[in-house]
């Protein structure tokens, strides 16, 4: 029975490869082949759904061995990463649930996406995503989980940027992927640390060696995994990406942010229960972050006027509660909460476009008057607590500015220092100098009668200033700056002349010959 687990992620991957390859080489294109594409994707996910249910059944009958390995993926000295799967417990239950939800959404999209320009692309990405998420929940080692984790993030990027002609969609998608990439990086650090400290990436082996680790290492490892989970499940401070992600088509929003992918963080925390339970500190962090996210999402959610954006904050609030439950040690509750939430949200998001018809003439219940009076709270809620702006101010802009400075440094200092600068830039700067001279800057006359003092102290200051100015002008400025510049220019012209001579190929060949001659 255990061997079936291999086919569960493999079937959608094959479908994705078929659709992707077919679309790329023009076999699957246009409306007439929509049928082929959708049935390929639907049958693949139906197969994995069926297999997952069989696996779940055999798990309930205690017929599963618990793990299944198909061999080495990578080995380097002591480090061996196998392709192995877990075939019991929560992983199988989630795989069954997710594959059922994916099958439903896939079927839903067949009609929903009909005659869309990116029909084939959509089904390619959705099948790839099905592979990624099923691998994520079934993989028996951290690297397999990371593969699923990152691929799922990538698929979400591709679907947020589904209508790539609209630049806002692509901007949001880029932001979401880069935010998620921070989480991925934390996951990767966690893997690296667990290799360094426990010597393995296999989940079960890792759990077995954990109790021997010192507390500091446990805390570090758990913190990295927790950060990865926070980023994926849109907890604070990463929450704003979720609102940006609603750009994609409705079925993809349902499956990514309602039902399946958004729960990956909670899944990771539940899976790593043996690790988190060893560190009270990280458990507290889980609880606090979860609690704060729930509060934040509740307050922001109050001012949302759009179906999808209010759902976004409902989702992050519920996820926050799940983290709170994990942090408080109610693991079973968190697991049930996850499953129930996935089902409800899948339904809600799929029916969101119809909601306006369904609630016609049925006004939204206003908030209680006590809260409604708080103007600052209203502004804060409307601005989503300025989280995006704070991130921009604290992270994005400084990095951009640093990049800008480094660019300047590279072009104007490193390049010049290394010789042969860009000649265009030189012309530009002399043009600027010309303009400045025209508007009256006395670039070649440093004498200045500006400092005029009155009284004794004033005159003394003036004299001192005059003396130091004279000193500055005659020794420092002219000695170093002007003279150096003139000298440098002369040298530069000379170098240019030499360079022009050397530039002729014959000299170059000569140069190479001389170097070679020296060698022998």
């Amino acid at each position: 029975m255990d061997a079936l687990v291999l086919l569960i992620p493999l079937a959608p991957l094959c479908a994705a490869l078929l659709i992707g390859g077919g679309h790329l080489f023009g076999f699957l294109d246009g409306e007439e082949s929509e049928q082929t594409t959708s049935s390929c994707a639907n049958w693949a996910i139906a197969l994995s759904c069926l297999l997952a249910l069989i696996l779940l059944g055999s798990n309930l009958l205690n017929m599963n061995a618990g793990s299944f390995s198909i061999g080495r993926w990578l080995s380097s000295e002591a480090l061996t990463i196998r392709m192995n799967f877990i075939t019991t417990g929560f992983n199988v239950q989630l795989a069954a649930l997710f594959s059922v939800l994916l099958a439903i959404v896939m079927r839903f999209s067949t009609h929903y996406m009909h005659r869309e320009a990116g029909f084939h692309r959509f089904f390619f990405v959705l099948s790839l995503f099905a592979f990624a998420i099923l691998l994520l929940v079934l993989s028996g080692n951290a690297v397999g989980t990371l593969v699923g984790w990152e691929t799922a993030g990538l698929c979400s990027y591709l679907l947020i940027a589904y209508s790539y002609q609209r630049s806002i969609a692509v901007t949001n998608a880029t932001r979401v992927l880069v935010t998620n990439h921070i989480g991925d990086a934390c996951f990767m650090i966690a893997i690296g640390l667990s290799v360094a400290w426990t010597g393995t990436v296999d989940w079960n082996e890792m759990f077995a060696t954990l109790p021997q680790l010192p507390t500091s290492q446990i805390t570090g490892l758990a913190l990295c995994f927790a950060l990865a989970a926070f980023a994926k499940s849109a907890q604070l401070p990463f929450t704003p990406w979720l609102a940006r992600a609603m750009e994609g088509p409705t079925p993809s929003s349902a499956v990514f942010y309602g039902a399946v992918m958004i729960h990956a963080g909670v899944y990771l925390v539940c899976l790593l229960r043996p690790l988190f339970e060893l560190s009270t500190f990280i458990m507290a962090i889980l609880a606090v972050v979860g609690c704060m996210t729930a509060l934040y999402s509740f307050i922001v959610g109050l001012t949302q006027t759009d179906v999808k954006s209010s759902l976004v904050y409902a989702i992050s609030a519920q996820l926050g509660l799940m983290f709170l439950e994990c942090g408080l040690g109610f693991w079973q509750l968190a697991k049930w909460h996850l499953c129930a939430h996935a089902i409800v949200r899948a339904y809600q998001l799929l029916s969101a476009p119809n909601l306006m018809h369904a609630v016609h003439n049925n006004p939204i219940k206003p908030v209680s008057p006590k809260i409604a009076q708080l103007r600052w709270a209203y502004t804060a809620s409307l601005q989503r607590f300025w989280l995006d702006q704070i991130t921009d101010w604290a992270l994005v802009k400084p990095v951009r500015r640093l990049a800008n400075d480094l660019c300047y440094f590279d072009d104007h200092i490193v390049d010049r220092f290394m010789g042969a600068p860009n000649p265009v830039l030189n012309q530009m700067s002399s043009l600027v100098q010309l303009e400045e001279t025209k508007i009256g800057a006395r670039l070649d006359n440093n004498a200045d009668e500006f400092a005029q003092g009155s009284g004794l102290a004033g005159t003394l200051t003036q004299w001192t200033a005059a003396i130091s100015h004279w000193f500055e002008e005659h020794f420092v400025l002219q000695g170093v700056s002007k003279g150096a510049v003139r000298y440098g220019r002369e040298l530069g012209h000379l170098a240019n002349k030499v360079e022009r001579q050397i530039l002729r190929p014959r000299y170059l060949v000569l140069f190479v010959c001389i170097t070679l001659l020296v060698a022998f």
């Binding site: 993926w73 921070i182 990086a185 951009r400 265009v424 530039l503």
Partner: protein, 512 residues
């Protein structure tokens, strides 16, 4: 070790040179192109044959060919490969083949000379990868300059192409000087070690020099001289400015060759670290910091670029930094990851550069301002660009992922801060790659020239399929590559990590 086999490595070196001669002497330029293509294909097959002949369970040099060259100075014509160099041969051959196909129609004047130079460069590069005699290596190393100089200056696409070619050549000549000094020091040290006289007991053969202990006083000198020489070619900050200039001024397939042939780091791996082992261990932190600076510096500057070719040049510099971090970890994971990543970037960086060339050829620019909305008119080109971009970001399912994972595991085990820096570099890589993609490939079409642009032609499609498939296959089965260099990597590491700086003599080869 058996030395009486068919001299296939010499064949690898001289076949393209013969092809170059035939191409340039052939009267008809159409026929010349076909001759060049045939020779490049045969070369690729020969290089694959070398991989087939290679025994991966042997960590020593294999397929040795030895004959006297300048007996008075003990300079030999010594060729051989090991697990580190063997895979560079087919990849370089593939790269040249790709460059020939990519420039098939775009070279209008002096096309015979152009294809001849490409073939000559291929032969010389093979020489660099196979040479085990330091003087022979230096000869091939310097010989790469003339073809590249003419490729940049004669067929470049920028107005300052001659200046760029000059810049490249001056940088490389500068890098050659410390190499030469280091080689002389090493060979004189050998003469001193066997207490012989200077011209009679000089030795330039790498296996012999590896077996000769280098006194501590000379270790640092030799290491830094070699590091300086190879850092220019790699390129490491601050010796990198030739690459962006060349990327802007040179033809894109030439730049693809320049970013694809990772000669600089190969030199570091082959000569600098094993020849001065205790200095390499002692200064591994400095090497790591240099790598980290290059990684972050290149990535930050790439973030500001508006031109795809310049962006790719800086991305390539940044990735060199990542590989150096892997090397400086001095453990199996870091080393194998670094070698794997080098092989990867031969494929990835050059394919991306070729794609930039396709865009340049169609629209006359790779400036983000002149692009925008390419995905609509060129879906296939965009798909391939996206795949290679993902591979360079180290996304899973591509070969970039296992390589990056290994480097990061290695770095985290050895120097945790370097590992974290490497990951910050990965996040920055996603940021610059994606933000350029957003501006150039997505969004609305703003330029009329873009509206009528043609998607990939069958020739270009076929050309890109090969590296794309390789990337996917290696991402799925990374062990294929790792197994080939495993033994050699173990020997390499043992030599560095041996308790005494004195080198073990396992690599000694019988006298001919």
């Amino acid at each position: 070790m058996n030395e009486s086999h068919f001299p296939i490595l010499s064949l690898l070196i001289f076949l393209p040179l013969l092809g170059a001669l035939m191409t340039v002497l052939c009267g008809n330029s159409q026929l010349a192109k076909k001759i060049a293509l045939t020779f490049a294909s045969i070369e690729l097959i020969a290089a694959l044959a070398v991989v087939a002949l290679f025994h991966s369970n042997n960590g020593d040099f294999q397929l040795l060919e030895r004959s006297d060259w300048i007996p008075s100075l003990h300079i030999e014509f010594l060729l051989g490969i090991d697990g580190i160099s063997v895979l560079f041969l087919p990849l370089s051959a593939l790269l040249t083949l790709m460059a020939i196909i990519a420039s098939w129609n775009s070279i209008q004047h002096l096309s015979r000379l152009h294809f001849a130079l490409l073939l000559a460069l291929e032969g010389i590069t093979m020489g660099v990868f196979c040479a085990l005699d330091l003087v022979l290596f230096f000869l091939f190393w310097e010989l790469t300059l003339p073809p590249i100089f003419f490729l940049i200056s004669l067929w470049g696409i920028g107005p300052e192409r001659r200046g760029a070619a000059m810049k490249y050549t001056l940088f490389m000549l500068f890098g050659g000087v410390p190499l030469l000094f280091a080689i002389l020091i090493l060979s004189m040290n050998h003469a001193t070690a066997v207490s012989g006289s200077i011209p009679l007991d000089l030795s330039f053969s790498l296996p012999t020099l590896l077996a000769t202990p280098l006194p501590d006083s000379l270790q640092s000198t030799v290491f830094f001289l070699l590091l300086l020489g190879f850092a220019v070619k790699a390129p490491l900050v601050p010796f990198h400015t030739w690459l962006p200039t060349t990327a802007m001024e040179g033809a894109t397939h030439t730049t693809a060759l320049l970013v694809g042939l990772k000669l600089g780091i190969y030199g570091l791996l082959r000569f600098a670290m094993p020849l001065a082992p205790s200095a390499a261990v002692q200064y591994s932190w400095a090497l790591g910091i240099l790598g980290a600076i290059t990684l972050i510096y290149g990535a930050l500057i790439a973030l500001q670029q508006t031109n795809l070719r310049r962006l790719l040049a800086y991305a390539s510099i940044s990735h060199v930094g990542l590989v150096i971090i892997g090397l400086s970890a001095l453990n199996m994971q870091g080393l194998q990851g670094a070698i794997f990543q080098l092989l990867n970037f031969t494929l990835i960086a050059s394919s991306l550069m070729l794609i930039a060339g396709f865009i340049q050829h169609r629209l006359g620019s790779t400036e983000a301002l002149h692009l925008g909305g390419l995905a609509k008119v060129m879906p296939r080109l965009t798909a391939f660009y996206f795949l290679f971009m993902l591979a360079s970001m180290g996304a899973p399912l591509t070969s970039g992922f296992p390589a990056e994972l290994l480097i990061i595991i290695g770095a985290l085990t050895a120097h945790p801060t370097l590992g974290v820096t490497a990951l910050a570099g990965a996040v920055l890589c996603a940021a610059y790659m994606l933000s350029f993609t957003r501006r150039a490939f997505f969004g609305a079409i703003t330029q009329t020239s873009v509206e009528h642009a043609q998607d990939l032609r069958p020739r270009e499609l076929a050309l890109l399929c090969v590296p794309a498939l390789l990337i996917l296959i290696l991402g799925f089965m990374p062990n294929k590559v790792l197994k080939i260099n495993q033994k050699t990597a173990e020997v390499w590491l043992n030599r560095l990590m041996a308790d005494q700086p004195v080198v073990e003599t396992g690599e000694e080869i019988p006298a001919p």
